[in-house]
């Protein structure tokens, strides 16, 4: 709705310290909470994937956020907001080098960030191995998007990845 767009725009401008109409990485990282969040820089990175250059303008900002809207079963016309898109976004969280596959090292990196220092290396390794083994069907020791989708089919992605504010 237009109300929310206005709000988002004001937030955008507040983030944009140099008033250039675009956001850079430093602007994002200036948000304090984001620094502590384990997935912080990956999320920031995903914004920049959209734009394919070093800055993010408002339209790209919005298009990334649109993925987090709660889905209503009636409107299918919003093609940025389907389950597929949400899953793709999640997939990109894992996949750092954007090769459309999650390798074991990428998985390890994510685990490391999320879990912190409490677990020993070998346990992390085992968890990563287990995760891959569970999802991997064609035996290539990497998780492709299709396999990811299959594993996630029991998870209620639409609900988990939605933020009511953006409704």
């Amino acid at each position: 709705s237009s109300n929310q767009i206005v709000r988002l725009y004001s937030r955008f401008t507040r983030l944009d310290k140099n008033n250039r109409g675009v956001l850079t990485r430093e602007d994002f990282l200036r948000i304090p909470e984001l620094a502590i969040n384990p997935l912080g820089d990956r999320i920031v990175h995903s914004f920049f994937l959209e734009s394919q250059c070093e800055t993010v303008n408002f339209k790209q900002f919005m298009s990334v956020l649109a993925r987090f809207r709660p889905t209503k079963s009636k409107e299918i016309k919003n093609k940025l907001n389907t389950r597929e898109e949400k899953l793709k976004f999640a997939f990109r969280m894992y996949d750092l080098d954007c090769d459309q596959k999650i390798s074991r090292d990428e998985l390890l990196a994510v685990l490391h960030m999320m879990v912190g220092d409490n677990i020993s290396e070998e346990q992390l390794n085992s968890i990563a191995d287990r995760t891959i083994a569970e999802a991997d069907e064609d035996g290539d020791r990497m998780i492709s998007f299709e396999e990811f989708k299959k594993v996630m089919e029991r998870v209620d992605v639409e609900q988990k990845m939605s933020i009511r504010f953006l409704n």
Binding site: R11, I31, N37, M114, S126, D129, R130, T131, A133, K160
Partner: protein, 682 residues
Amino acid sequence: MRVSATWHLSCVLLIVLHFHVSEQSTTAAITERSNEIPTPNPSTSNATNRTSTKKPIDNNDTELGTSIDSLHNNHTNFSSTTTKKPDTGHHSSTFELVKVHWEQVKSPLVFTIVVIVASLSKIAFHYSHFLSSKVPESCVLIVIGIIFGVILRFSNTSDKITLYTPHEFFLYLIPPIILESAFSLYDRTFVDNIGGVLLFAVWGTILNCFLIGLTLWGLFRAGAMEDIDFTFVQVLVFSALIVAVDPVAVLAVFQEVGVNNTLYFLVFGESLLNDGVTVVMYNVMQVFNGFETVTVGHCFLGVAKFCIVCVVATLIGIVCGLIASFLTKFTNSVKVVEPMIVFGFAYVSYLLSEMFQFSGIVSIIACGLVLVHYSFHNVTRKSKLAIKFISKVMANACEIIIFMFIGLVTVDQTHDWKTGFILWTTFLCIVYRFLVTYFLSYLVNRYASSRVRKISYMEMFMISYGGLRGAICFSLAALIDETAIPAKNLFVTTTLFVIFFTVFVQGGTIKWLTKKLRITLAETSKEMCINEELSNHMFDHMCAAIEEIVGYTTGQHHIKEKIYRIDDTIIRPRMLRNATSTGLDDISTYYEKLVMKEHYKNLQLSGAKLPRVKTEIRHLDSELALDQMVQDSSERGSTEDIREIDERREQAMQEEHRRHGGNHFEFFSSTRNSNRKRLYLD
């Protein structure tokens, strides 16, 4: 002359004895539950001893409690003086080899027999598949209670057994049940859905209460019932207590059928919090009943009192839980003390709240949740198991006793049967529960649909149909002061009827209905999947980050993240003994459980006779399985064909290998060592 002298002597003796004994009984009645008075009379001290072996606290006793107790004391006094007189007056001249001291053990013995019979009936119930598929357990218990009551009534000993004192009920029987429920309430699904649960519990109860009260009063005024002597406020007292839902049967059905988690916790949480709310409302209404006229100011005060009660009760619970957790930080070397601290503090929080007339139920729930969150990490594995199991046993025992008493009192009670009132009440209870549930569910679905999962129509039906009344409303009814509310007997009778109706009719048909309506069940093959857990966490972080970017600082993810962070950095290090140890993290604990379970499956198929480990994470407890394995392997003999075992083993091994290619054993050896170090700290 001589005759008259001995006669005078014995008269004087009698009188002295009687005074002495009656003086004792009155003092016993006044300082009822304090054990400082050494009562040499064993049968009168029987009743007080039984209650004083538990924690003796001077409470505001109700008139009813003291009058019944003193009546009982006097009565047993009389019977005992007749039996005791020959003992104290003259020494018995015969030396009896075997003497039956019935009076000394009467009360505890009867109670224990009752509990044993109830346990036996539970066993029989579970063995008879016919009964257990049709009828919930509570029905059977009530029926047995009625049978007992009839037996006692016809053997004319009913006035000698301690009558049901609702005050004791609230002091002793309710806390274990609530504590055990609080322990099992601690779950991620509950926290996620807490908005919906609170909505149902608080607003649902209030709406129900007022609607029922107003309608009853309106019907009474309109002349649809017989002539009853009550006022509007008294009707409100009644409707406050009749709303207390006790979905034991529903939850049992849900567990058996395996409905999805959200629904289960919604119903469970609602019933628990609803009990607390009911008690508060009941108290407030009773206070109003004492006033001549109730002004608007009073109403506001009532609302304020309600809020204060709930908030302060929660605070008391949290504080007690925190203190207990802090103490368990140091009990590593004295493991026996740990259950004592845990239970002691939980009970203390209950009693403290009751002392100020706050809601003890709410504070014990809060205390239990805090305890699970912190102290369960501190206590050793054995203590944790012990605590969980003891609380389960106590809760079950108390439930049995309560239902038995319902049956007992049905036979004993002086009933006041007014058909119109009773039927209207039952009808309204059911109808309003349906209406309010549907209405609230509609609100939840409409306005909070991304916070709480949508509730389907079938689920709404189950929630409303599962609104059985139980023990709490009965005791609240029995607790009513007869002088303040003259219609008490009518209320008690009505409550009993409603309980019977809901338990037997609704409870009886609920299983059949579940099958008919095909409620969405939990996934049948609930395989533990590490991917899901991992992705759940990831989504949490992701959404929190997005919310932060957007500036939506009151988003639920954001708040949760903040709370977790405060928890991790500030509270946990203070509370937990080794806050940085392995295994605190969700992902790793989940993984360990997963691997342990598979390891047991492996072992089982390779020949060792292991118990089947349940697939639900909630129940998985590897230590327990380990102990049981040691036990069982010595008991069972292997009766199966070796060939069959080999075949199965081959199949399972192949499947396991496919699934995690060999790393399994490496991981297991490393975690086994770390587990051993962590678990066996003695």
